[in-house]
């Protein structure tokens, strides 16, 4: 297949055991087919339409839109996140099916960006959700967004895009961080019950 580039072939030659080849193949299929849930939170929302339409055509890399969180592989958070929005984002993320990935666009989810002293936006997204790829810029252009997808694909192929596993293993840490900003307006327990080994202690 044309999609097996030189890098893929080199990786394949290095694999020793049959199970490693199976894992590699499964990851190859995962990276070649990415259903994207574009969560337009800030100014980055306007960068997504040109990324997926005629000008930049993300579909040639196997990236296409997903209609619902159940069907999506990656959630693209495009910009600043108000506390109220973050609640919806966490709920959406928890509805997605593993393996699932998060791409954060722009400076705002990394360090607050131009909203660094705002009272109602979060400053560091990776305290609340496991971010796999961040694309810096204010705002990153579609070329940079596509570059972010390429970085995610590389990560998936290497088997390192395991943010969902990290979220499950460290659910107490993430929920405590979330509680710090939500206070008594925390998400209902049933959205994350299944992450806890004792059936929901939060």
């Amino acid at each position: 297949m044309d999609n097996l580039n030189k890098k893929d072939k080199a990786q394949l030659k290095e694999l020793k055991s049959p199970m490693a080849v199976v894992d590699w193949a499964v990851n190859w299929f995962r990276k070649q087919s990415i259903f994207m849930l574009a969560y337009g939170t800030g100014c980055g929302a306007i960068e997504i339409p040109p990324t997926v339409t005629a000008r930049y055509d993300a579909e040639r890399f196997g990236v296409r839109g997903a209609a619902t969180p159940r069907q999506a592989d990656v959630i693209v958070l495009s910009g600043y996140l108000a506390v109220k929005t973050l609640k919806r984002v966490i709920r959406t993320y928890e509805q997605m099916q593993e393996p699932k990935y998060v791409i954060a666009l722009g400076s705002c989810p990394i360090n607050g960006g131009m909203y660094w002293d705002s009272y109602n936006t979060i400053k560091q997204l990776d305290r609340y959700l496991p971010v796999d790829v961040t694309v810096a810029g204010c705002m990153p252009r579609p070329e940079a967004v596509l570059e972010g997808f390429m970085a995610l694909k590389d990560k998936i192929q290497r088997g390192e895009a395991e943010g969902a596993r990290d979220y499950r293993d460290n659910i107490e840490k993430y929920k405590n961080n979330q509680k710090e900003i939500f206070g008594d307006k925390m998400l209902p327990g049933y959205t994350c019950d299944w992450y806890f080994s004792d059936g929901g202690s939060f």
Partner: protein, 301 residues
């Protein structure tokens, strides 16, 4: 018996691979219309395998699990009662035991089973999608029944194999012999294939993909696989009924692709109807042509 089982498996494999190929063409064709490069031809297969490789899938009890299974079973059962080739022992399935009336019944079993599963999930978007789907079905089925009734009375049989065998030359193809029935059936065909202007039920931007809203992972994989197979069953049925059938797989592919291309062009050219508009449309022009043709037919008997 072993030969029949082997034949059935072959039919499943053939419809899956042909369907994935056609829908790969569909995606590339649409991309070219948008002046894009588009995905590779085998992108649908990659998507399908990826869906089966997801580690999780949401569950809502036994009925939810059974929905995609009933849908797939409905598709495969319908497939087994459609003869793929004429003058051949291959790819006949159980078509000698069934007929057109049984097939019409079987073709709606899957969607009804899926409707139950969506209802169990309790997702309002899914339930809205199912309601829209079943409403649309009323519009699509009436002209389809009329065209099939015309065909059965014109051919004097309800057996698909016999209808296919009777079309021995181009002038005897039912699209030439019964043009009114063919034209009426094409309206239903485009709707049943889910092309614009009748695609309000499952289009990605319409109430979040309609009946499939809650299905992810392996469930969506099943539904995607059965969708392409069911589309192939419909294409092959139309080839059998109106395009003179096929004596080998290559002719089958050529004829079914011609129909698929028609569906693709119509889908690419027309904007989307709302559900009620779709039903209204189907109950106007196609119904009038259908009833007119039936009256002429019985007048001439």
């Amino acid at each position: 018996m072993l030969f029949t089982i082997f034949n059935s498996l072959l039919a499943v494999l053939l419809t899956y691979s042909m369907g994935m190929l056609y829908y790969g063409f569909y995606r590339i064709g649409n991309a070219r219309i948008h002046r894009r490069v588009g995905p590779p031809l085998w992108q649908n297969v990659i998507d399908n395998i990826k869906l089966f490789a997801k580690r999780e899938a949401p569950g809502h009890g036994i009925m939810f699990h059974l929905g995609p299974v009933i849908m797939t079973a409905g598709t495969i059962t319908s497939m087994l009662f459609v003869p793929f080739l004429k003058d051949s022992a291959w790819l006949q399935g159980f078509s000698s035991y069934g007929n057109l009336i049984l097939l019409i019944y079987l073709m709606v079993v899957g969607p009804l089973g899926n409707a139950l599963a969506v209802g169990v999930s309790g997702v309002p978007f899914g339930v809205m999608g199912v309601t829209r789907g079943l409403t649309r079905l009323i519009g699509l089925e009436v002209p389809f029944f009329l065209s099939v009734a015309l065909l059965m009375s014109g051919s004097g049989t309800i057996s698909i194999s016999e209808i296919m065998m009777a079309q021995d030359s181009f002038s005897n193809w039912n699209m030439m012999a019964h043009p009114a029935a063919f034209i009426v059936s094409l309206f239903s065909f485009v709707g049943m294939m889910g092309a614009s202007p009748f695609d309000v039920v499952g289009a990605p931007v319409e109430v979040y993909s309609g009946p499939q809203a809650e299905f992810g992972g392996k469930y969506l994989g099943f539904l995607a696989a059965q969708r392409v197979m069911f589309s192939m069953v419909k294409l092959i049925l139309w080839v059998d009924l109106f395009l003179g059938g096929a004596t080998n797989v290559f002719i089958l592919m050529a004829k079914s692709f011609a129909l698929f291309f028609f569906y693709f062009i119509v889908g690419a050219a027309f904007p989307r109807f709302k559900t009620e508009q779709a039903v209204d449309f189907m109950l106007k022009l196609p119904l009038i042509i259908g009833i007119g043709a039936v009256l002429v037919r019985f007048w001439s008997l």
